[in-house]
């Protein structure tokens, strides 16, 4: 807080307030430039101000398409003729010594896929018939078939993917990123979460929580319908003009108290009220898809009247356009164990259809807008699924942590790259294993952040997203 600012606010209060606050001041605030605009506040008062990374970044923004439940890599990305051949047989004992499963018994039989695979694009990426739209952007996408994680239950595994640790209470990737480099947006949150599918992701808010970081950095869930943020709408009986009176009056009093107490927290609060006011118009504007062309809406397969993954992909692009740093989309219903409504035929078809076109459209749209170079798109779930089938009434597989598939595009990623291979049964990686911590280190690296240096001291220890591990996957970089 500079003395100038104090003087200015003091002058303002005593000169203007008695004669009635000028419409001019309010007018300037309504147009988005407050008396004390976000730009005029330094980092001490605006914790979300954009900050320089550790080194030259490849990507500025991240859109993480989180496929909650654990998509089957064996049906989508990683065909195994051997598995086909051995279908119905027991898995060799050597594979499952010391392995634990959520539901599966050791006598589960191997299960070949029913899906057809083909190679696509110049890169020759192998993708199954379930994802025809992804096949159309094959050369923009790097596929990692050797992902592995540590935990095999949904909640803990999601925490692990998001926070690098399998229990509640650590900051999520989006929180770390906004803590590290802030946000480019002055009137929208730096980290936004969108959700689609039949229910919320397991684990809930800790997946996008700020853990022990200040709550400023936590993900803000935007709702797909109605008001996107809680309490964003004015209360009944307060219109835009009354809300303007209100913000102005609150901040006038706060400025006076600032002058009296010299407490810089009050300056932050003044900025927070102004940002809140701007969000009240910018967030509904964001959610309103009517200014998108029909061609764009069709590209995504979106229906603006109905919340969907397609709408959320389009919203993610709009958020990034407006400076939001990290957008995470959750789409649930990938947990295909083989029960009547969670199986690898109809249910898998349905969920693939929900996500395939929009995810591919997002990459295409970013590319044609010249935004793909700056925006890292990540697709994947918390783990994959077992080569063994489950002995249930329908086709299904159990949770598998040793090997699964994710893809990335844009933001400094080498399009067309295929990273890692698994063994004949798709059980273990045999080449370039990429652990979750490695992926996290790589995401931070692309944003210009060194995962070893992005730390926060809590309970006597310097914590980081990658816990005590993680190595950047250089093969993934363009």
């Amino acid at each position: 807080m500079t003395n100038d600012l104090v003087n200015q606010t003091r002058r303002h209060f005593f000169n203007d307030c008695r004669v009635g606050l000028g419409a001019m001041a309010l007018g300037s605030m309504m147009s988005g430039e407050g008396l004390l605009s976000a730009e005029s506040l330094d980092n001490a008062t605006n914790p979300l101000a954009a900050k320089a990374p550790h080194y030259e970044p490849r990507a500025k923004n991240v859109i993480f398409l989180f496929m909650a439940g654990g998509p089957s890599q064996l049906e989508l990305f990683d065909p195994k003729p051997k598995l086909q051949e051995l279908e119905g047989e027991l898995i060799p004992e050597s594979y499952i010594e010391n392995q634990r499963f959520a539901f599966l018994k050791k006598d589960a039989k191997l299960l070949g896929t029913r899906r057809k695979f083909a190679q696509h694009g110049k890169s020759g990426h192998t993708v199954s018939e379930c994802l025809p739209h992804l096949a159309s952007i094959a050369d923009d996408v790097a596929i990692i078939r050797s992902m592995s994680t540590d935990v095999f239950n949904h909640g803990p595994a999601k925490f692990f993917m998001n926070t690098g640790f399998n229990r509640f209470g650590r900051p999520s990737m989006g929180a770390w990123v906004t803590y590290g480099i802030g946000s480019e947006s002055n009137d929208l949150p730096g980290f936004v979460v969108l959700q689609s599918g039949p229910r919320g992701p397991r684990g809930g808010s800790p997946n996008w929580g700020s853990g022990f970081l200040p709550t400023t950095y936590q993900g803000v869930p935007f709702r797909g319908k109605g008001s996107p943020i809680l309490n964003l709408d004015n209360p009944a009986g307060i219109n835009g003009s009354r809300q303007g009176d209100f913000i102005q009056a609150v901040n006038d009093f706060n400025r006076l108290r600032l002058a009296d107490t010299n407490d810089p927290e009050i300056a932050t609060r003044i900025a927070a009220y102004e940002m809140a006011y701007r969000m009240q118009s910018s967030a509904p504007e964001l959610m309103d898809l009517s200014d998108e062309t029909q061609e764009t809406v069709d590209l995504y397969g979106a229906d603006p009247a109905k919340p969907s993954f397609a709408n959320n992909c389009l919203l993610a692009r709009r958020l990034v356009q407006r400076g939001t740093r990290f957008v995470q989309l959750y789409h649930t219903d990938w947990d295909h164990h083989g029960n009547p409504d969670t199986e690898l035929k109809g249910t898998l078809d349905k969920v693939c259809k929900e996500i395939d076109q929009p995810a591919a459209a997002l990459v295409k749209d970013l590319k044609r807008l010249g935004m793909l170079d700056d925006t890292l798109v990540i697709w994947g779930g918390e783990f994959g699924r077992t080569p063994q089938g489950e002995p249930r009434d329908f086709l299904g597989r159990d949770h598998h942590i040793e090997a699964f598939t994710m893809w990335l595009a844009g933001g400094g990623v080498k399009g067309g790259a295929a990273i890692g291979k698994t063994d004949d049964l798709g059980y273990y990686p045999v080449e370039n294993r990429v652990h979750v911590h490695d992926l996290q280190a790589t995401v931070l690296h692309l944003l210009g952040l060194d995962h070893l240096k992005l730390t926060y001291r809590f309970q006597g220890r310097d914590f980081r997203l990658t816990d005590i591990a993680g190595e950047v996957v250089h093969k993934l970089l363009a």
Partner: protein
């Protein structure tokens, strides 16, 4: 004392070979035994081959060979060296690879050569003598926090006239060294508001402020302190602080996050704080109330402290993994909340910074690893008196009879159940919890007992079952009239002890040595009643007068609550990586005072709030900005944003809506719609309409996966792990909450109505009244004018827009006075959004 495992009986064959070896050794060494010197000859051998794994930090198998005393003491498997008894000195067999249970040592690196083995043997044969200084195995540390605190004499100060009690001597002395003077005492309205928010968690009423401002008695302030320390809200305010540490919540956490009943524990905390229960007793009852002689219901309820851990009900989880995690959480909580030590660091490896070994971590773990975790009946006293508990028991008896009759028809029952299972539709299936789905996925005969029960109970809820078996309906009807008796989650000590082993790298599947409950050797020793120390011994040890850490950690946290930061800033880390105390002698003086007062919490609180240090003004002084930007010297008080619950409570109190009711089940005040869009399952939330709508924030039902939004937005802890200090963020979402959330609008409306009812003299007078309701002090002239200007503008706007006026005040149909009330509501809304309103100054 540690009790050691017996040596395994030797087989005859190995016995023979040992004797043979012994005879041969005696022959070869006769006459040379005196020449072996431990330090010169033996210690280098141990250092070379053994001490890498058998040292103070890493006592593999409980054995140390870095000091001679360790060899004499032996390890988990018993003695390894018996003086002058080569045959019974197991160490020799082990290094030769002749031991039955242990492979040849060392497992890594070269084995000992015959000369080295002969040297050790000669040393044993000669009596295994070790110099005195090698016999002391205590781990010591000269780190300040491990030394017993002593009461320093009060330093002398120049300006003794500003001193009010001992605290001020220490603070002034430090200020004097830095050449800085203290701040003046805060003005009375600020002082009473500060005290009220700190002790009670609600702002003072206007009447209380007036009375205090006009109270000419020299001890007016002290009178107020005593009155409030005795008022029930004190227990709520300070109980809530403790609940942060206890990670209290009303649901199980993780993904399913089902509800739980443990509010009786919350009420126990409030009652104990209000009763002034000494802190040592407060601790012992929470850690081991169930193990106290003739334990009372309340003492067992108190053990809920360590039941506030999470429970994972996701399908397919390994329950042992999550049980182990919850015990680890108890260790971590204990370390942080009591000892100010990051014990968790030693879960997977030796502590990198503090003298705590991984073995010692699991020795503490062992204290807490021996519990069952039941849900216990905790009836109200009136339920016992009115025979309601007896009636419940009678009904349960009738249910039992019918269940037995039903069990006699088991075959028929299962047949019908299987028929019903075949009719389950996907829509219904989808609504079932994971474990139920998993059980349904199996054939009846493949289900384990728990799964069988799950499906049987599910089937019993169906119409099909009731039709087929009238007993099912009778049982359901009886259950419907069974009186509800509160239950609560408690600890109960297992009769058959659970074995505790080291988890290598923290992985519970990778078990290492067995350990026995014991406290870290760097800390004071534990006096156990029986051979094996128990959870009760551990509880007493935590609050033993010898404990150098607990009293310091506790008073430091009190200090933090009253000043915004602790004397030790890292309130959860008093180890070598923590920050040093700003006022070490003051901290120790308070710690000693606390223990000598009989762990009297109220006395310490009284001491702190009656100090001149506490009573200073909080204004930032420009001359201090450079030398003390974060107020470490305490040359002023701090401005501290209120805790989440207190913001809500203040709003309700200022408007007069607050319901003054202590305890009871948690409640569902109004919250914005759409909270559960992002959780796996929607939570039941039946918004309260009566007085429970306006209860204090601490009674709001806390769902871990989707906590009450206005609490979270103001940094209420998420209750997944212990919280020793709340974050104080300052965000736009907070602004939106205070500005637009329905509960805050209701409060503004009510305050407006109240002020209009109370005072009809003039706008100026009403504006002043409203201002004082919210921030205790009188407005300055400029502030009053600004409020009047706002009021006039709102009055005009709402007169022009009667619909908006009616909407703001929540009127069902428009009325003549709507615009007036709306204008005052808009004014009250501004005051309740001020930084000053949500800050303790």
């Amino acid at each position: 004392m540690l009790s050691h495992q017996r040596m395994p009986a030797m087989t005859q064959l190995s016995y023979l070979s040992t004797v043979l070896a012994f005879l041969m050794t005696c022959a070869s060494l006769t006459g040379r035994a005196e020449e072996v010197d431990y330090i010169r000859d033996v210690k280098p051998i141990f250092a070379k081959h053994c001490a890498k794994c058998h040292n103070a930090a890493k006592q593999e198998s409980g054995l140390r060979l870095d000091l001679g005393g360790g060899a004499i003491r032996g390890g988990d498997g018993g003695p390894v060296v018996v003086a002058k008894d080569v045959a019974n000195s197991r160490l020799l067999k082990i290094v030769r690879g002749e031991d039955e249970d242990v492979e040849r040592m060392p497992t890594e690196g070269d084995p000992l050569n015959s000369k080295e083995i002969a040297t050790i043997e000669a040393w044993i044969a000669a009596g295994a003598k070790v110099p005195e200084d090698e016999m002391n195995l205590d781990i010591t540390s000269d780190h300040w926090a491990f030394q017993t605190p002593t009461r320093a004499t009060l330093p002398s100060v120049d300006k003794a006239e500003t001193v009010r009690n001992a605290i001020d001597y220490f603070v002034l002395a430090r200020l004097q060294t830095e050449g800085v003077g203290p701040s003046e005492e805060a003005v009375r309205p600020t002082l009473i508001r500060r005290l009220s928010l700190d002790l009670l968690g609600i702002p003072p009423t206007r009447e209380q402020v007036d009375a205090f401002v006009n109270d000419a008695r020299p001890d007016a302030y002290e009178q107020l302190v005593d009155q409030w320390l005795a008022s029930p809200e004190y227990g709520e305010r300070w109980g809530r602080h403790w609940l942060d540490l206890a990670r209290y919540a009303d649901s199980n956490g993780f993904t399913r996050d089902f509800g739980r009943q443990i509010w009786k524990y919350r009420d126990w905390v409030i009652a104990a704080v209000n009763a002034g229960m000494p802190f040592d007793q407060f601790t012992i009852e929470q850690f081991a109330g169930d193990m106290m002689p003739d334990s009372t219901l309340d003492q067992r309820i108190a053990t809920g402290f360590h039941r506030n851990t999470l429970i994972n009900e996701e399908g397919g989880t390994d329950q042992e993994q999550f049980r182990v995690d919850s015990v680890a959480d108890r260790v971590e909580t204990t370390g942080v909340a009591y000892l100010g030590l990051t014990l968790v660091c030693a879960r997977c490896h030796e502590h990198k910074y503090d003298p705590i070994s991984q073995r010692e971590y699991y020795q503490i773990f062992a204290f807490l690893n021996n519990c069952d975790e039941p849900q216990m009946d905790a009836p109200w006293a009136w339920q016992v008196e009115q025979g309601i508990v007896a009636r419940r028991d009678d009904i349960r008896g009738q249910i039992k009879e019918r269940e037995e009759a039903l069990a006699a028809q088991a075959e028929e029952f299962t047949k019908k159940q299987v028929e019903w299972e075949a009719t389950i539709k996907p829509e219904f299936y989808r609504t079932l919890p994971g474990p139920t789905q998993a059980a349904l996925g199996k054939k009846v005969e493949e289900r384990d007992d728990a799964e069988k029960k799950l499906i049987v109970e599910l089937y019993k809820t169906t119409e099909a079952a009731r039709e087929a078996f009238p007993l099912v309906k009778e049982i359901a009807d009886l259950k419907a009239i069974e009186p509800a008796i509160p239950t609560t989650m408690v600890l109960s000590e297992k009769k058959e002890p659970r074995e505790t082993r080291i988890h290598k790298r923290g992985n519970f599947l990778n078990e290492g040595d067995r350990v026995i409950a014991q406290v870290p050797s760097v800390l004071h020793s534990l006096a156990a009643e029986a051979d094996e120390a128990t959870r009760l011994d551990f509880a007493r040890w935590l609050v033993d007068a010898e404990n150098a850490l607990t009293p310091r950690v506790i008073v430091n946290r009190y200090w933090q609550r009253f000043f915004g930061r602790g004397i030790v800033e890292t309130e959860n880390d008093f180890g070598t990586q923590g920050s040093l105390p700003t006022h070490p002698k003051l901290l120790d003086w308070l710690a000693v005072e606390f223990v000598e007062s009989g762990w009297n919490v109220k006395a310490i609180h009284r001491l702190i709030v009656t100090s001149a240090t506490y009573r200073q003004a909080s204004r930032h002084r420009s001359e201090l900005a450079a030398i003390d930007p974060t107020n470490k010297l305490l040359a002023r008080q701090s401005r501290v944003r209120l805790d989440a619950e207190i913001i809500r409570d203040s709003t309700l109190a200022a408007s007069g809506l607050l319901t003054r009711k202590l305890g009871g089940p948690s409640v569902n005040p109004p919250q914005p719609e759409g909270i559960y869009l992002f959780t796996q399952d929607p939570k039941p939330w039946d918004t309260e309409q009566g007085e429970d709508r306006y209860r204090r924030g601490m009674y709001t039902y806390f769902w871990r996966s989707s906590p009450y939004p206005s609490l979270v937005v103001f940094d209420a802890p998420k209750s997944n792990v212990t919280c020793t200090r709340r974050a104080r963020s300052n965000t736009p979402l907070q602004a939106l909450t205070l500005a637009n959330d329905i509960q805050f609008i209701e409060a503004a409306r009510t305050l407006a109505r109240d002020v209009l009812d109370r005072d009809d003299s003039s706008d100026a007078s009403r504006v002043e009244l409203m201002f004082r309701h919210c921030v205790a002090r009188r407005p300055k002239e400029s502030e009053r004018l600004r409020l009047q200007e706002l009021l006039a503008a709102q009055r005009k706007a709402y007169a022009d827009d009667p619909d908006a006026a009616a909407a703001l005040i929540g009127a069902e149909k428009p009325g003549a006075k709507d615009a007036e009330l709306a204008a005052w509501t808009a004014t009250a809304r501004v005051l309740m959004n001020l930084d000053e309103f949500i800050t303790r100054e």
